[in-house]
C-alpha cells in the first residue's frame, strides 16, 4: 500500500459525522457535541478558555469499528440484510429435531461462509481506514505554545491554537489567517481539494494582525473571534475579531480552509477556528452509504414475497397435514404413531408447518446470494481486464472497486459529471491565432501526416519546452519580423496580470491567476516576447532577445461586464500605448472604423474558432498621445477617488479610452477536453442517458465546455439561464422557462419537422457506412421515436431541445423543499443541464434530488475531492484515476483514467452485466421453482453465458441500452413469468413421471414406483430440462459455455453415481441409502422415455413462444444479432469491417456536430477574477524579493544575455550557426540580429552590451510606425466596397443565439449592477472626437 501513504488526506471526505456520534469514547471530540452550537467563540492562545466550549478537536475518525466493537457491530450490520436474517431464522428452525427436515449443516455452512467473507472484507476496509486516519492524525504541524513553536500531531491541534504553515503544506484545520511572510499579510492557496479549481486564490489577513509578524508577537495575541457555528458553506464566513477593544469584521477572505494547500508563500500563521469534524471540508463530505443495486432491492422484495408465498404454502400444507393426520394419520397410527410430544393432529400440523418452511426454503436458497456475488465478481474482473479501458498514457487500467453494483451500470439514466479534470484536462493551450487577417495554427496536411511540433529552443533559449505549436508559418512570420505579429505578441506579453518567478537565470515560472492567461503569456514567451518580471510600475520583457522595460501606467482591469482588460504602457522611447484584449463582442465595437475589412476577416476566423469550441479573445491596441494620456489619467484619477458609485465611474473612464482601437488579431485557446469526450457524450445521449454537468467553475467556463463537448449546440431551441438570487426570482425564472418550453413546443410543428430532419441526418450518417442500410433504417425508427425528452406530468408534451444553466446560489434556492419538484420538472425537460458554481454538498444534493424524484439510476463521475460527496450519494460513483488527487477514486465504485471509458463501462459492461444478471435471476428463480434440488454451479456457469451482442455493436447501437433503464429484463412481471414457467415445469416434472412410473415396472418385473427411482427420474429430468433451458437462454456459445453446460450435466451424473455408490453407503449407511438407485433407474428404457417426454413437454412451449416473439416482435438486440448473422454470411472474408464502421460513425458524427457554424464564444479569461490588476498596481502582491529582482533586472537588464554569451563561447564554436542566414534578407536591418540573438551574439563577442540595448530601444520605437503604416493606407481602400450595414449585420448575426443568450446570462447575473452596464452602453461605440490614429 505504498500508494496510500503518499496520498494527502485521501480519506478526508469519508467522514461520517453521524456515525461518529454513535461510538462515543472512540477518538476524540465527538461525544462532546450534543447541543447545537449557536455561535463560536474562540480566544487565541487560551486553551483553558476554549475548553469550556468543548469544541471538537482536530482528530478525525473515519473508521467504523475497533477491535472490541467489530464483531457485534459488524454482525449487527450484516443481519440487517434480509437474506442473512432469513437464513439465520432457518438455521434456528433446523436445530429443533422435531421439525428439522434437512440437516442443520446445509444452512450453517453457506451462511457462515457468507458472513465470514463479508466480515473479512469489512475488516480489511476498516483496517485501511484506521491506517489512513492514523497517518493523517499524526501529521506534524507547528503549534505556537507558550511563545515557542512546537511540533504537534494534527490530532492534538485545538481550537484557538496558532499554527504555522509552510509553503506547499496542507492546511490542518480551518484557520483564520493572522500573518504571513508576504507583504500585507497576503498568502496564496490552492483550493483544488475543496472546489476543484486549480488556479490560485489570494487570502489576506486583517491588517492589524498582519503586522504582528513573528512568533513572539503572536504568542501574546489574545484576540477573540466570535463567528458562525460550523457549516458547510465553502465561500462564506462571517465573524468578528475582538482585539484591544476594537472590532474587526472577518470574511471568507481571511480564512484558510482545511484541504487547501499553501502556495507561493514561505510561511503563514493562522488561528484555528474550526477543527476536525467541524471544518468546512468535513462538513461538506457526504455520508457514506452502503450502496445496493435496484436488483438487490428487488431481490430482497422478492425474497420477502417468496417468504410470504412460503408461509402460505406452509399454512396450506399444514392445514392439509392436520386434515390428513385427523382423517388418515390417526388411523395410520398403529403403523406410525405420533411422536411422544405430538399427541394430537393439531400439534403435528404445527410442526409440519415449520418443517415445510425448511423444506421449501430452497426456493430462495442462500446460493442465490452467493451466485449473484460470484457473477458480480466475475464481471468486476472483466472490467478490470478490459484493455479498451486501459489508458496507456497514465498506465492505469479501469478498476472496479466494488463488486456489488455491476448490473446497475446497465440501468443508468442520469450522469452527473464534474467538469475540470473529468471532461477537460484542465490544460489551456494556445491553439490558433489570427494576426492581421491571417490565420495560424491550422495545420491540415492532406496526406494526414502527423504535424511536427515546433522546436523553439534554437530560436529562443527562454522558451518553455512544454509549449506545443505546429504551424511553422507563425514562427516564420515572427522571424522575418512581421510588425503585426510582433505587436500581437508584445500585447500578449504585456497585457495580463501574470506574476513571474525566476528561480534561476532563464528559468521562468509564470503564476497565472487563470490558466487562459498563462497560456497566452507562455505563447508570447515562446514566440520571442518573454515576460520576465513586473513591479507595480514596470513590466520587463525580453523581446526577441533584447530586454525592454515598459513603464506600466495603468491596468484597466477585467470584470464580467467589461469582458476585457487593457494595460497602458510607456515604452522606453516614451511612446504610450494601450493594449487591450477582450471578448470579441465587446472589443469589435470599439475599433476604429478603418478596421472594417480586417474586422470582417477576423470575425470569420473567430467564427471558425468558436465552431471548434475554442475560447477566443480579440486583441487590439491604440497609441495614445501624451495629451490624451494626461487628460484621461486625470479623469481616471477622479473616478478612482470618487466615493459613490466608484466602480461605475471607473468603468466609464475605462470605456472612454478603450475606443478607436486597431485590431491586431485574435487568439484561440483550447480548454483541452479529455480524449473522446464529445463522442462519448453524443453516444450516451443517444442511449437516452441524460448528462448533467455540475461544476464549481464559473458559468462562462462551464457553458463554453458545454458547447465544446457538444452538450449544448446551436441547434438547441433555447438555453435557459437561472441566476436569481432570491427565492422568488428563482421560482419566477424556473416558471417562465417552463412556460416558454410549453409555448415553444405547442406552436412548433416546423420545429418537429426540423427535428425529424435531424433524425434523418443522424440516420444518414449511419447509412453512409459501407452501404449498411438495413441497420441504419433499423435504428432510425428507434432514435426518432424516443428522442423527445421525457418528463413528468405536463412536461411530457415538450418537444424540442432545451438546455438549462443554473448557478450555485440559485441552485441553493431551487433545492429547497418547496421548489424541488419545480426544479426537477423543469430541469428534466431539458436535454442538457449545467450547474455552475456549486459546492460539493450541492452536487450531492442535486444527485439526491434526482434519486428522490425520478427513481432513476444515477451515476456521478469526477476526479477531485470536491466530487466525493456526489460520487458517494449517486447510485454509482466513478472516479477518474491517474490524476494527482485520489480522493475521488477512493470514494468511487469504479475508476478509470478517462471520461471516454464511460461509454464502454455503461454500454458494454453495464449492459452485459445487467443482461447476464437478469437472465441469471430469471433462470435461477425458474429452476428453483421448477424443483428445489439444485447444485451451486448452475448459478456459476450461467454467469458467463448470457452475452448477447458483441461489444462494438453495443456501442454502435446505443439504444440497446434502453431496456436496462426501463428495467425491462428483470422486474416483477418477468419474475412472475419466470416462476410461472418454473411452476409449469415442476408440474410437468412431477406428474409425467408420476403417471408413467406409478404403473410401470422394470423389465424384470420389479416395480418402478418406489420412492428412490421416482426421485432419481425426476431429478434427472429436471437437470436435463434446465440444461436445455440454459442452452436456449445462451446467446453465445463459447468454449466455456460448452464446458459448463456439458460439464454440469456430466457432473450431475458423476455426482449422482458417486452418491449412490457402494463405498459411501458402506461408510454412512444411514446417509447414503440411495445406493444403487442410479444404475437401477437409468438402465430402464421407460425412465428415459419419461425424461424425453417431460423435456419435450417443458421445452416446446418455451421454444414456440420465443420463436413467435422473435419473429413477430423482435427486440432491437435480436435485430442487431440478426443483421450481424446475415452480414457474416454475406461476406465471410470481410474481416474487421465492423470495427471500422463504428469508427467511421464516430468521425462522421463528429464532423456533423463540428460543422455547426455561426457560434462564437469569447473566452475572456474564464476563470479570471476581478481585482487582480489592482493588486498588481498597488504592489501588494509583490514580494520584496521579486521587487528587488525586478529592480535589479531593470538595471542590469542584459545580464542574462551576458551569461548566455559566456555559455556560448564555452560550448559552441562561434560562427557555426547558419540559422541567421535567412534573417538578413529581411526588411528591417536590426531585426535579423534579434531573430536569432544567441547565435549572432555568439559571433560578436566584443559588442558592448550598452550598444545592444540601445539598438533594441531604437528598434522598438521605430517598429511602431512600421507596424501601423502598412495597415493605414490599405484599410480605407478595402473597406470602401463593403457596405457598412451588411458588415454590421454580419457582426451581430454571427454570434448567433448563443452570444445573445450569454448576454442575457450576464444581465441576469449582474442585473443588480444595473448602473454599471447602463453606463457601459451609454458610451457611443465610435467617438469621432477622439484623437484619430496616426
Amino acid at each position: 500500500m505504498t500508494v496510500l501513504t503518499d496520498i494527502p488526506e485521501k480519506w478526508l471526505p469519508v467522514v461520517l459525522p453521524i456515525k461518529k456520534k454513535k461510538k462515543a469514547g472512540f477518538g476524540g471530540g465527538k461525544s462532546k457535541k450534543k447541543r447545537t452550537e449557536e455561535e463560536r467563540r474562540v480566544k487565541a492562545n487560551d486553551r483553558e478558555h476554549n475548553e469550556k466550549f468543548q469544541y471538537a478537536n482536530n482528530c478525525i475518525v473515519t473508521s467504523k469499528y475497533n477491535i472490541l466493537t467489530f464483531l457485534p457491530v459488524n454482525l449487527f450490520e450484516q443481519f440487517q440484510e434480509v437474506a442473512n436474517t432469513y437464513f439465520l431464522f432457518l438455521l434456528i428452525l433446523q436445530l429443533i429435531p422435531q421439525i428439522s427436515s434437512l440437516s442443520w449443516f446445509t444452512t450453517i455452512v453457506p451462511l457462515a461462509l457468507v458472513l465470514s467473507i463479508t466480515a473479512v472484507k469489512d475488516a480489511t476496509d476498516d483496517y485501511f481506514r484506521h491506517k489512513s486516519d492514523n497517518q493523517v492524525n499524526n501529521r506534524q504541524s507547528q503549534v505556537l505554545i507558550r511563545g515557542s513553536l512546537q511540533n504537534e500531531k494534527w490530532m492534538n491541534v485545538k481550537v484557538g491554537d496558532i499554527i504555522k504553515l509552510e509553503n506547499n503544506q496542507f492546511v490542518a484545520a480551518d484557520l483564520l489567517l493572522l500573518s504571513s511572510t508576504e507583504p500585507h499579510g497576503l498568502c496564496y492557496i490552492e483550493t483544488a481539494e475543496l472546489d476543484g479549481e486549480t488556479n490560485m486564490k489570494v487570502r489576506q489577513s486583517v491588517s492589524v494582525t498582519a503586522e504582528l509578524g513573528d512568533p513572539n508577537n503572536l504568542a501574546s495575541f489574545d484576540g477573540e473571534v466570535v463567528c458562525e457555528p460550523p457549516n458547510n458553506k465553502l465561500d462564506r464566513f462571517c465573524g468578528t475579531l475582538y482585539w484591544r477593544e476594537k472590532k474587526y469584521p472577518l470574511t471568507n477572505q481571511n480564512m484558510l480552509l482545511r484541504g487547501c494547500v499553501l502556495r507561493n508563500t514561505e510561511a503563514c500563521y493562522g488561528l484555528v477556528i474550526f477543527a476536525g469534524p467541524d471544518t468546512k471540508l468535513m462538513q461538506n463530505s457526504g455520508r457514506t452509504k452502503f450502496k445496493r443495486t435496484s436488483i438487490d432491492r428487488l431481490m430482497n422484495t422478492l425474497v420477502l414475497w417468496i417468504f410470504g408465498f412460503l408461509v402460505c404454502m406452509g399454512v396450506i400444507l399444514a392445514v392439509g397435514n392436520a386434515v390428513w393426520e385427523r382423517e388418515v394419520g390417526s388411523l395410520f397410527q398403529s403403523y406410525l404413531p405420533w411422536d411422544p410430544p405430538v399427541d394430537n393432529f393439531m400439534f403435528s400440523a404445527f410442526l409440519s408447518f415449520w418443517s415445510y418452511i425448511i423444506i421449501l426454503n430452497t426456493v430462495v436458497p442462500i446460493s442465490l446470494y452467493v451466485s449473484v456475488e460470484v457473477i458480480r465478481l466475475g464481471h468486476s474482473y472483466f472490467i478490470n481486464w478490459d484493455r479498451q479501458m486501459f489508458c496507456s498514457r497514465c498506465n492505469t487500467a479501469a478498476e472496479s472497486r466494488t463488486t456489488t453494483l455491476n448490473e446497475e451500470l446497465g440501468q443508468v439514466e442520469y450522469i452527473f459529471s464534474d467538469k475540470t479534470g473529468t471532461l477537460t484536462q484542465n490544460i489551456m493551450t494556445f491553439n490558433k491565432c489570427s494576426i492581421n487577417g491571417q490565420t495560424y495554427g491550422e495545420v491540415t496536411d492532406p496526406l494526414g501526416k502527423q504535424p511536427k511540433r515546433l522546436d523553439f529552443t534554437p530560436f529562443n533559449p527562454l522558451a518553455n519546452p512544454d509549449f506545443c505549436f505546429y504551424d511553422e508559418k507563425l514562427l516564420e512570420s515572427v522571424k522575418v519580423g512581421d510588425l503585426h505579429t510582433h505587436e500581437f505578441f508584445r500585447l500578449l506579453s504585456l497585457c495580463h496580470t501574470v506574476m513571474s518567478e525566476e528561480k534561476s537565470e532563464g528559468e521562468l515560472v509564470y503564476k497565472a491567476q487563470s490558466p487562459d492567461e498563462g497560456a497566452l503569456v507562455t505563447a508570447a514567451r515562446n514566440f520571442g516576447f518573454v515576460f520576465r518580471s513586473r513591479t507595480p510600475g514596470t513590466i520587463t520583457t525580453t523581446e526577441m532577445g533584447r530586454t525592454v522595460t515598459y513603464s506600466l501606467l495603468a491596468i484597466l482591469d477585467f470584470n464580467n461586464i467589461r469582458k476585457r482588460m487593457s494595460v497602458i504602457v510607456r515604452n522606453p522611447e516614451g511612446r504610450i500605448c494601450l493594449y487591450c484584449k477582450g471578448a470579441d463582442t465587446v472589443l469589435l465595437e470599439r475599433l476604429h472604423p478603418c478596421n472594417q475589412e480586417l474586422m470582417s476577416i477576423t470575425s470569420d476566423h473567430l467564427n471558425e474558432y468558436g465552431a471548434d469550441g475554442l475560447r477566443t479573445l480579440a486583441l487590439a491596441y491604440r497609441e495614445l498621445s501624451e495629451d490624451e494620456w494626461e487628460a484621461w489619467s486625470e479623469s481616471h484619477r477622479c473616478a478612482d477617488k470618487a466615493t459613490d458609485c466608484r466602480e461605475d465611474r471607473l468603468a466609464a473612464a475605462y470605456d472612454k479610452i478603450e475606443q478607436d482601437m486597431k485590431l491586431l488579431g485574435a487568439t484561440a485557446i483550447e480548454d483541452k477536453l479529455q480524449e473522446g469526450v464529445p463522442e462519448t457524450i453524443a453516444l450516451l445521449s443517444l442511449a437516452n442517458i441524460k448528462i448533467w454537468v455540475l461544476t464549481g467553475d464559473k458559468q462562462e467556463t462551464a457553458v463554453n465546455i458545454g458547447y465544446s463537448c457538444k452538450m449544448l449546440t446551436d441547434d438547441m431551441t433555447e438555453v435557459f439561464i437561472i441566476g436569481g438570487h432570491t427565492v422568488q426570482s428563482v421560482r419566477q425564472e424556473l416558471r417562465s422557462a417552463r412556460e416558454r418550453m410549453m409555448e415553444l413546443s405547442r406552436g412548433k410543428t416546423e420545429g418537429m419537422e426540423a427535428w425529424a430532419e435531424a433524425c434523418f441526418m443522424g440516420n444518414g450518417m449511419k447509412d453512409g457506412q459501407e452501404g449498411d442500410c438495413t441497420t441504419g433504417r433499423g435504428s432510425k425508427q428507434l432514435h426518432c421515436s424516443s428522442l423527445p425528452p421525457s418528463a413528468s406530468g405536463d412536461m411530457d408534451s415538450i418537444s424540442g431541445e432545451f438546455a438549462l444553466i443554473i448557478s450555485g446560489h440559485s441552485l441553493a434556492h431551487a433545492l429547497e423543499a418547496d421548489m424541488e419538484a419545480e426544479f426537477v420538472s423543469t430541469a428534466c425537460a431539458c436535454k442538457a443541464v449545467i450547474c455552475c458554481r456549486v459546492t460539493p454538498l450541492q452536487k450531492a444534493q442535486v444527485v439526491e434530488l434526482i434519486k428522490k424524484h425520478k427513481k432513476a439510476v444515477t451515476l456521478a463521475i469526477g476526479d477531485g475531492a470536491n466530487d466525493v460527496s456526489m460520487i458517494k450519494s449517486a447510485h454509482i460513483g466513478v472516479g477518474i484515476s491517474g490524476q494527482e488527487g485520489i480522493q475521488a477514486v477512493l470514494a468511487s465504485d469504479y475508476s478509470f483514467a478517462q471520461f471516454r471509458f464511460l461509454q464502454r463501462l455503461l454500454l458494454v459492461h453495464g449492459r452485459w452485466s445487467y443482461l447476464r444478471m437478469c437472465r441469471f435471476l430469471c433462470y435461477f428463480f425458474y429452476k428453483n421453482f421448477a424443483f428445489t434440488m439444485v447444485h451451486f454451479w448452475f448459478g456459476f456457469f450461467c454467469g458467463f453465458s448470457a452475452q448477447d451482442v458483441p461489444d462494438h455493436r453495443s456501442l454502435e447501437y446505443p439504444k440497446l441500452y434502453e431496456p436496462g433503464q426501463l428495467n425491462l429484463l428483470f422486474n416483477k412481471k418477468e419474475f412472475f413469468i419466470c416462476i410461472t414457467q418454473g411452476i409449469y415445469t415442476s408440474v410437468v416434472l412431477f406428474f409425467v413421471p408420476y403417471a408413467v412410473l406409478s404403473d410401470a415396472t422394470q423389465s424384470n418385473g420389479v416395480p418402478l414406483a418406489d420412492y428412490q427411482t421416482f426421485a432419481v427420474t425426476t431429478a434427472t429430468a429436471l437437470v436435463i430440462v434446465v440444461s436445455v433451458q440454459i442452452a436456449l437462454d445462451t446467446g453465445f456459445w463459447t468454449v466455456f459455455n460448452h464446458m459448463f453446460v456439458w460439464g454440469s450435466v456430466g457432473s450431475y451424473f458423476t455426482i449422482m453415481f458417486a452418491l449412490h455408490s457402494q463405498t459411501l453407503f458402506r461408510i454412512f449407511p444411514n446417509q447414503f441409502r440411495f445406493i444403487g438407485s442410479a444404475q437401477n433407474t437409468l438402465l430402464q428404457p421407460v425412465v428415459w422415455l419419461t425424461i424425453a417426454l417431460a423435456t419435450a413437454v417443458c421445452v416446446v412451449p418455451v421454444l414456440a413462444f420465443r420463436f413467435l416473439k422473435l419473429d413477430l416482435k423482435p427486440q432491437l438486440s435480436d435485430t442487431v444479432r440478426h443483421t450481424q448473422l446475415v452480414r457474416q454470411k454475406r461476406r465471410k472474408p470481410g474481416g474487421r469491417s465492423i470495427g471500422g464502421a463504428w469508427r467511421g460513425t464516430g468521425s462522421v458524427s463528429e464532423g456533423r456536430l463540428g460543422a455547426r457554424g455561426g457560434s462564437r464564444r469569447s473566452g475572456y479569461a474564464f476563470s479570471h477574477q476581478e481585482g487582480f490588476g489592482e493588486l498588481i498596481t498597488s504592489g501588494k502582491n509583490m514580494r520584496l524579493s521579486s521587487l528587488a529582482l525586478a529592480n535589479f533586472a531593470s538595471k542590469h537588464s542584459s545580464s542574462w544575455i551576458e551569461t548566455l554569451r559566456r555559455k556560448k563561447t564555452n560550448h559552441t564554436p562561434p560562427s557555426t550557426s547558419g540559422e541567421c542566414s535567412p534573417a538578413p534578407s529581411n526588411v528591417s536591418g536590426t531585426c535579423p540580429a534579434l531573430s536569432n540573438s544567441s547565435s549572432v551574439l555568439g559571433g560578436s563577442q566584443e559588442t558592448p552590451i550598452e550598444e545592444e540595448t540601445d539598438a533594441a530601444v531604437v528598434l522598438s520605437s521605430s517598429s511602431h510606425p512600421a507596424a501601423s503604416e502598412p495597415a493605414e493606407p490599405r484599410a480605407p481602400a478595402q473597406v470602401a466596397p463593403v457596405d457598412s450595414s451588411t458588415s454590421a449585420a454580419a457582426r451581430t448575426d454571427s454570434p448567433g443565439g448563443w452570444a445573445r443568450s450569454l448576454e442575457t446570462v450576464q444581465e441576469a447575473l449582474f442585473g443588480r449592477r444595473g448602473c454599471a452596464s447602463a453606463s457601459n452602453t451609454q458610451v457611443p461605440p465610435c467617438d469621432a472626437t477622439e484623437t484619430p490614429p496616426h
Binding site: S101, V328, F332, S334, L336, P337, P340, S355, Y381, F382, N384, D386, R387, Q388, F390, R393, N395, T396, T774, R777, G778, Q947, Y994, A995, V996, L997, D999, S1003, G1005, P1007, L1008, A1009, D1010, Y1011, G1035, T1038, V1039, F1040, Q1062, F1065, R1066, P1069, N1070, I1075, G1076, Q1079, N1080, P1085, V1086, L1093, A1096, V1100, P1101, L1103, L1108, L1110, D1111, L1112, K1113, H1122
Partner: protein, 354 residues
C-alpha cells in the same frame, strides 16, 4: 496477475490480451430462425408420433389381471376378524377365485398391491436403520438408530431387529396360486420367491450380521422381532434357509418404500419349469389361497393381487404411449400455427429489417 508485476514500463499495468479476459472468445451464436425452429418442430412431432404408436402396440400385447381381495368372497370373514387388533395372533385364511380368459404368455409376475398405505411419509421413511440391516452389530444389539423410535426397542429395552416403522408394518399376507385343470383337479402354480429385488439391495444394502459358525438364530440373540411380527426375522422363510434374516426378499421388497400411497410390490414370478406353465399361465380357473394377516381396515386401505406379463419396457402402462401421441399432436399443432404466423407476418425476417 503475478505475470504483470514483473513487467515494467508505461504499459506495465495493461491487462492481458487474452480472449477470455477481453470477452472475445470465439462463440457460436444460434438464433431461433424459421429455418431451424419449424423443421425441428415437425421432426419432433413425427418422432413422438412414431414412438407413441410403437409403444401403444407394445402395451396392447401385454395382459394384466387385477384382483381386490380385501373383502372378496370368504376373505370377508378375515377382514372382520382383523378389524379387532386383539385377534392379531389368530390365523385366518381365505380363498379367492378367478378365471383367465386368455392365456398369459411368457413370464408372469405376481404382485400384491396396497391402496391408501402411505409408505411415503417422511417420518415413516426415516424410521429405519440401514446400519442395522447392513448387519452392524452395534446397531443391531445395542442402539438402533434413534430414527427408529418408537420401534427401536421394546418395553424391556431390548433392541428390535429390524427396527423402525417400515419393518414393523411389513406386509405379511401370503399367497398360494392354484390352477384348476378341471373342476376337481388343481395344481399349485409354482412361484419363484427369489430374484424379486434389485441386485444391489440383495447383495449390498441388506446383509446379515457376520455368522462365525453361529446359526442365524444365535446371531439375532438379544434382539426382539418387531412388535407386529409373528415370526422372528431369522425364520421368515421356512422353505429356503438362505432367504432369512435381513436378506429375506420379502423384507427387502417391503423396505423399498413406494413413492405413492397406491402401490404394488412383487410377490413372485411364475416358475416356467413345469411343463404346464412352460408358456405362461394357460386360460382357465384359478384360486388363490390367502393367509390373511395384514389388517387394512383401520386406515381404510385395500389389498389386492396383480398378475401381469411384461414387455421389454415394463408392464402394462397405457399412459406413456398416449402421452406421446397427445404430445405429438400438440407439437404438430404448434408447428402449424408457427408456420402460419411466420408465413403471414415474419417471413424472411421482415420484422428484423424495419
Amino acid at each position: 496477475m503475478g505475470k504483470t508485476k514483473n513487467k515494467s514500463g508505461p504499459l506495465a499495468r495493461r491487462p492481458d490480451n487474452s480472449a477470455f479476459k477481453q470477452q472475445r472468445l470465439p462463440a457460436w451464436s444460434p438464433m431461433l430462425t424459421a429455418n431451424t425452429v419449424l423443421p425441428f418442430f415437425y421432426l419432433l412431432a413425427v418422432i413422438c408420433m412414431l414412438l407413441g404408436v410403437w409403444l401403444l402396440l407394445l402395451v396392447q400385447s401385454t395382459q394384466e389381471i387385477k384382483l381386490d381381495y380385501t373383502d372378496l368372497g370368504n376373505c370377508n370373514e378375515c377382514f372382520d376378524l382383523r378389524r379387532n387388533v386383539s385377534n392379531a395372533a389368530q390365523t385366518c385364511s381365505c380363498r379367492v377365485e378367478f378365471s383367465i380368459d386368455k392365456s398369459l404368455k411368457g413370464d408372469v409376475f405376481f404382485y400384491y398391491g396396497l391402496k391408501n398405505f402411505h409408505q411415503n411419509l417422511r417420518r415413516y421413511m426415516d424410521s429405519r436403520d440401514d446400519g442395522q440391516t447392513l448387519g452392524r452389530i452395534k446397531n443391531l444389539k445395542k442402539n438402533p438408530s434413534s430414527y427408529c423410535a418408537p420401534f427401536d426397542k421394546d418395553n424391556d429395552g431390548v433392541p428390535i431387529a429390524p427396527c423402525g416403522a417400515i419393518a414393523n408394518s411389513m406386509f405379511n399376507d401370503s399367497f398360494t396360486l392354484n390352477y384348476h385343470l378341471s373342476s376337481s383337479r388343481s395344481v399349485p402354480v409354482p412361484l419363484l420367491r427369489t430374484g424379486l429385488t434389485w441386485y444391489t439391495d440383495k447383495n449390498v444394502k441388506f446383509r446379515n450380521p457376520r455368522a462365525d459358525n453361529l446359526t442365524l438364530a444365535e446371531v439375532f440373540e438379544g434382539t426382539r422381532p418387531p412388535l407386529y411380527w409373528q415370526k422372528p426375522v431369522y425364520s421368515l422363510d421356512p422353505h429356503d434357509p438362505n432367504n432369512n434374516g435381513f436378506i429375506n426378499e420379502d423384507l427387502i421388497v417391503w423396505m423399498r418404500e413406494a413413492a405413492f400411497p397406491n402401490f404394488k410390490k412383487l410377490y413372485g414370478i411364475l416358475n416356467r419349469a413345469d411343463p404346464i406353465f412352460e408358456k405362461g399361465l394357460p386360460k382357465g380357473n384359478y384360486t388363490i389361497d390367502i393367509s390373511y394377516n395384514f389388517p387394512v381396515q383401520h386406515f381404510q386401505g385395500r389389498k389386492g393381487v396383480v398378475l401381469t406379463t411384461l414387455t421389454w419396457f415394463g408392464g402394462q402402462n397405457h399412459f406413456l404411449p398416449i402421452a406421446y401421441l397427445v404430445t405429438s399432436s400438440l407439437i404438430l399443432l404448434a408447428a402449424v400455427v408457427l408456420t402460419v404466423a411466420w408465413w403471414k407476418f415474419g417471413k424472411d425476417g421482415k420484422n428484423m429489417k424495419e
